[in-house]
């Protein structure tokens, strides 16, 4: 009989495992309120745990992973559709949106580099950290192009998303940012999808501005990250 392990090198294994975990945890956490009870995080941990426990190498999983990852490019292109639908709102609020996002991205990129130096992080970690305010689909590519690692970037992006969801509204209250549009912009600019979720919990204006800010942040970071890497000599 043929070695059963041959089944693990077909893409079917990685694709089924990934979709299976997402379906399972999405069901399980359907009514969960905590941002930590998050299907994505639990699926990642479970898949890694399972592969390690069964001694299945990353390369076997990646055969299926690559099939799913392929669709990331078209999914990013698709973000043009919500951006287009909100274009009137973007035009009406162009100044606060761009001022807020440029300020946020400049501070995010430079403080990431300074803290990375302070803690003596490797270049790979530093570059993987820099785009943490950008939605993971795009930040993974930004980091990878500069010598970072996609998985490490995902780690930082998730910390930014979850901590932002839990803390940013309190921080904004503390520094007296009360304007709903500004609060939405700050949330989407730093905590991407989780920030947008938090924005919609605050109100329609906050949520809509956060989702706009998420897309614009991706574009601004795409332009500014290579400049900052050169400027700060990363």
């Amino acid at each position: 009989m043929a070695d059963w392990r041959l089944l693990l090198v077909t893409p079917l294994f990685g694709v089924s495992l990934t979709i299976g975990m997402m379906v399972f945890y999405t069901r399980l956490f359907k009514h969960a309120r905590s941002p930590l009870l998050n299907p994505l995080l639990f699926s990642i941990a479970s898949i890694i745990g399972l592969l390690l426990a069964a001694g299945i190498p990353y390369e076997s999983y990646e055969k299926g992973g690559a099939v799913l990852s392929f669709f990331l490019g078209p999914a990013i292109v698709s973000l043009a559709v919500p951006l287009y639908r909100q274009f009137d709102r973007l035009k009406a609020n162009a100044l606060p949106i761009f001022a807020g996002i440029i300020a946020g991205v400049v501070v995010s990129l430079s403080s990431a580099v300074l803290l990375a130096r302070l803690f003596q992080l490797s270049r790979e970690l530093t570059v993987s950290l820099m785009p943490l305010g950008t939605t993971s689909a795009i930040s993974m590519n930004l980091a990878q192009m500069q010598g970072g690692d996609r998985a490490l970037t995902m780690f930082f992006v998730n910390v930014a998303g979850i901590s932002g969801y839990m803390m940013s509204v309190k921080v904004l209250d503390a520094v007296k940012v009360t304007n709903p549009a500004a609060r939405g912009i700050a949330l989407g600019n730093t905590s991407h999808a989780m920030g947008t979720k938090r924005g919609f919990e605050l109100g329609e204006e906050e949520g809509a501005m956060a989702s706009l800010a998420l897309s614009i942040t991706a574009v601004v970071t795409t332009v500014m990250m290579p400049l900052f890497i050169r400027l700060l000599g990363v």
Partner: protein, 123 residues
């Protein structure tokens, strides 16, 4: 079939973005250029919203599934990360707090300034 046509438009934008990156050598992902291209085509009415919307909504809805596999590569870093995870979380949280403050302030200052010009609609 409608969904397939939209998917084709999206794929072609993605491909055009990748081609542009390849020949220009710009340090940006082809997919982001593809997104800007599709936005431009929609604004210029060269592509109808109805053509791309069903496929785009489906792809965006499944985004989390397309992101997930890249994270599994973390299993190759577990040894390296074991001692520094708390430090890395601290750094990421600090960056997020600093960015949220600066972004919120800058947005509020400009929103109030433009609001006053338009008759204080933003308060």
């Amino acid at each position: 079939m409608e969904k397939l046509k939209g998917f084709l438009v999206i794929l072609l934008c993605n491909f055009a973005g990748s081609v542009a990156v390849h020949f220009s050598g710009l340090p940006v992902p082809g997919s982001v250029l593809g997104m800007l291209l599709l936005l431009a085509l929609l604004l210029l009415r060269a592509v109808k919203l109805a053509t791309v919307e069903p496929a785009a909504q489906m792809l965006i809805g499944l985004m989390i599934l397309f992101i997930l596999p890249s994270s599994i590569g973390l299993m190759n870093y577990l040894d390296k990360l074991a001692g520094v995870v708390a430090q890395l979380i601290l750094i990421a949280v600090l960056v997020t707090v600093l960015a949220v403050i600066s972004s919120g302030w800058a947005a509020q200052l400009t929103a109030r300034a433009t609001g006053r010009k338009r008759g204080g609609q933003h308060g």
